[in-house]
């Protein structure tokens, strides 16, 4: 091959390489940017007075005196709206029956929309579900709901060959000629005074428990559950993995048995995680009965089995990469094999072993499938450390899935879901970052 062709080949390969890296980077950006933007929205957002009321009632947070003052300020404008409602109700009584019937059926949705917007109306019974006791807690959601109050959504079925089209009819037009017509512009113009929006940083999202299946509150139970599960898995898998790696590298003789063990380990690393989940259910809960049903313990054990092969492999490679000369030096000084392993080989292999460990910890924190049957519940409060043996726990990975697929009000609380995703991504990222730093620090210490 001549020089020219070679150069062209080299250059085109570089171009392809850079191109594929760029594609990866762009894909990552497309995923990460909305996660970060929306996830931060769970903490940094414009809250309404309903949010402050909820925090005070459910968590006892906030200043009562100031809250009363704000409620009074908002109350002036709300009272005006309520009086419009009662005036219209009185007006309806005087209408002839057919017209009254027509307006009654239109009036119900107006009440509902107003309830969604600013909370229960005077005279409502106290709602059983917490979510119905408050209006919109987030200002951007309130603006969305305002639209529901101002317009009625209707469907156009006129064309049988295509899908029905949604269109909006102004409620002001529907109530034309009644006293209620004043309500719509009034609410539209005074919504900010009724809801008193204010920018807030709600760190409670990370430290509060959830209220009414994540409609309000934070994700602390999930964060804590993830932490318990991942750390529990490490408590089992890390020592076992390192011991197995020491056995493989220092004690096992090359033979049929060892090579069987090795290939079993490699196979285990490739098993899909849902299989581990079912295995955990069948083995730890149904057979060994480590707990009555789902528990953190069973979940940790399942995750431990899942990450064990990775830890073994990483530790094995780290141990093998320790120069043989260290071992020789130690043995020649009259050290026993065990002592050599503990005082020379393991310290030198530590960066690699820890890196493998922390990466596995991240994986344990992020896996969903193994804990579905063994540990995770969708709604629950934070459990105490003493309950890990018997209680299941919410966990970030599982609750993200749950909010995405099964939650009845998922569309209302996308910010919670994004917040959970961001929390999980941050935790895993932090763990990996700490692994890198730890590794760099120990390597630097070893190199002098």
């Amino acid at each position: 091959m001549n020089l020219g062709t070679r150069k062209i080949l080299d250059r085109s390969f570089s171009a392809v390489g850079i191109g594929s890296i760029a594609v990866m980077g762009i894909a990552l950006l497309i995923v990460i940017v909305p996660i970060v933007y929306n996830g931060l929205g769970a903490v940094f957002f414009t809250e309404t007075i309903e949010h402050r009321n909820m925090l005070y009632n459910e968590f006892g947070k906030g200043d009562k005196a100031e809250l009363d003052k704000e409620n009074a300020a908002a109350g002036i404008y709300r009272k005006e709206a309520y009086s419009m409602l009662s005036r219209f109700e009185a007006e309806m009584e005087t209408m002839e029956p057919v017209r009254q019937q027509e307006f009654r059926s239109k009036y119900g949705p107006v009440q509902t929309a107003l309830r969604h917007l600013i909370g229960p109306l005077p005279g409502d019974e106290e709602a059983i579900l917490t979510r119905y006791r408050y209006g919109q807690t987030r200002w951007e959601k309130a603006e969305e709901k305002l639209h529901e109050l101002l317009y009625e959504a209707k469907w156009d079925y006129s064309d049988p060959n295509s899908m029905a089209k949604e269109y909006f009819v102004s409620r002001a037009a529907e109530f034309e000629g009644t006293s209620l017509v004043r309500l719509f512009p009034y609410v539209e113009n005074n919504l900010d005074k009724m809801l008193q929006p204010r920018f807030t940083v709600y760190w409670g999202f990370l430290t509060d428990s959830s209220v009414d299946s994540h409609i309000f509150g934070g994700v602390w139970p999930e964060i804590q559950g993830t932490f318990f599960l991942a750390v529990g898995a490490m408590l089992f898998a890390f020592p076992l993995g390192v011991i197995a790696a020491i056995y493989f590298t220092e004690y096992a003789r090359d033979g049929f048995f060892t090579s069987m063990l090795r290939s079993a380990n490699s196979t285990l690393a490739g098993v899909p995680s849902i299989v581990f989940g079912l295995f955990g259910l069948a083995f730890f809960i149904n057979t060994l009965k480590v707990s009555e049903s789902k528990s953190v313990l069973a979940g940790s054990l399942t995750l431990a089995i899942m990450i064990l092969p990775t830890i073994i492999r990483a530790a094995e490679e780290a141990i093998l990469s320790v120069p043989k000369t260290y071992k020789e030096a130690s043995l020649s000084l009259g050290s026993t094999k065990w002592n050599t392993i503990m005082t020379v080989i393991l310290p030198a292999a530590l960066p690699g072993i820890l890196t493998g460990g922390v990466i596995s910890l991240g994986r344990a924190a992020g896996e969903t499938a193994p804990i579905i049957f063994t540990a995770a519940v969708s709604v629950g409060s934070a459990i105490g450390i003493a309950d890990v043996l018997s209680s299941p726990t919410p966990a970030l990975s599982w609750n993200i899935y749950n909010l995405a697929s099964e939650h009845e009000a998922a569309a209302e609380i996308r910010h919670v879901q994004y917040g959970m995703v961001l929390a999980l991504v941050s935790i895993v990222l932090l763990l990996n970052l700490s692994a890198i730093l730890l590794r760099a620090r120990i390597s630097k210490k070893l190199k002098g």
Partner: protein, 286 residues
């Protein structure tokens, strides 16, 4: 022209021998007291790597307190023999021995020999300097700590004594807490000697200790060997024949696993008995 029995010119041999005497004549050495007893004795001792006999039926006494060098071409089994003495070959799978190798009359490969205790008495320095990635202090203190010395003051004494013996104290006394990997190659190798001395061995095995060092560092190691001569039994494997002649009292010449000749260094280099030895030291093959 006079010819030897195997057809070589005797006058030429004499010429070579005279030349060799000039090169290899050992310098003045201090007298050694209390040494000269058989310290490591090989009796029909063979080492196998699997089927391959790497060292063949060696019979030899290494004398205590003297320096014995082992020379021979690459792959002749000299390092294998040296490493057999403190059982470092145990690390190599498939390596086994026949015959007997005795240390102070006890079989090194005996059924009840504790190789850990053995290695404490037989220290070793390797071809490439191999300090641990720890501080200089911890490197030297590693051995004593292993054997139960924990008192910081006592350890400090041992460290200083060992470093002084290895002629390294003056260079590193102010930075004992620094990582040993920061030292130069020559310093690292002397550190390894000091580390080996810290466990107070009886024998010091040096496996080509200067092959990775520059001439200046090599000279320091050679001086060090002279300092230690008389206190320890020293065995040194070397590729460098001048080095063997400079530092050792006795020399073993191995060729293809066979101990061809074992004699006082001066005699082996100036008046070899065996033709193979002569060919090797005159550089006809290497």
């Amino acid at each position: 022209m006079q010819m030897t029995a195997d057809g070589r010119d005797t006058s030429q041999i004499e010429q070579v021998k005279t030349a060799m005497r000039d090169i290899y004549l050992p310098s003045e050495r201090k007298q050694i007291s209390g040494g000269g007893n058989p310290h490591v004795t090989a009796k029909v001792f063979s080492i196998y790597y699997g089927e391959f006999e790497a060292v063949k039926k060696v019979n030899a006494d290494v004398l205590s307190k003297y320096v014995t060098s082992i020379i021979g071409p690459s792959g002749c089994g000299k390092s294998t023999y040296l490493r057999a003495i403190n059982r470092m070959n145990d690390l190599i799978p498939g390596c086994h021995t026949t015959g007997a190798l005795l240390f102070d009359g006890e079989d090194i490969y005996g059924k009840f020999t504790d190789e850990v205790l053995l290695r404490k008495k037989i220290g070793m320095v390797f071809q490439k300097p191999n300090p641990f990635p720890k501080s200089i202090f911890d490197n030297i203190a590693y051995g004593p700590r292993l054997h139960g010395m924990n008192d910081r003051k006592q350890l400090a004494e041992v460290v200083e004594r060992s470093l002084r013996k290895a002629a390294l104290w003056d260079e590193v006394s102010d930075r004992l807490d620094r990582n040993a990997l920061g030292l130069s190659g020559g310093q690292q190798q002397r550190l390894c000697v000091a580390r080996a001395l810290a466990v107070e061995p009886e024998i010091l095995l040096l496996d080509e200790p200067t092959s990775a060092l520059d001439p200046k560092a090599t000279a320091k190691i050679e001086d060090l060997i002279q300092e230690l001569r008389g206190s320890y039994t020293i065995m040194i494997v070397t590729h460098n024949m001048q080095q063997a002649s400079r530092v050792s009292d006795y020399t073993m010449f191995f060729y293809e696993g066979v101990l061809v000749e074992y004699a006082p260094t001066a005699q082996l280099f100036t008046n070899p008995k065996d033709r193979m030895t002569e060919d090797y030291i005159t550089g006809r093959f290497s």
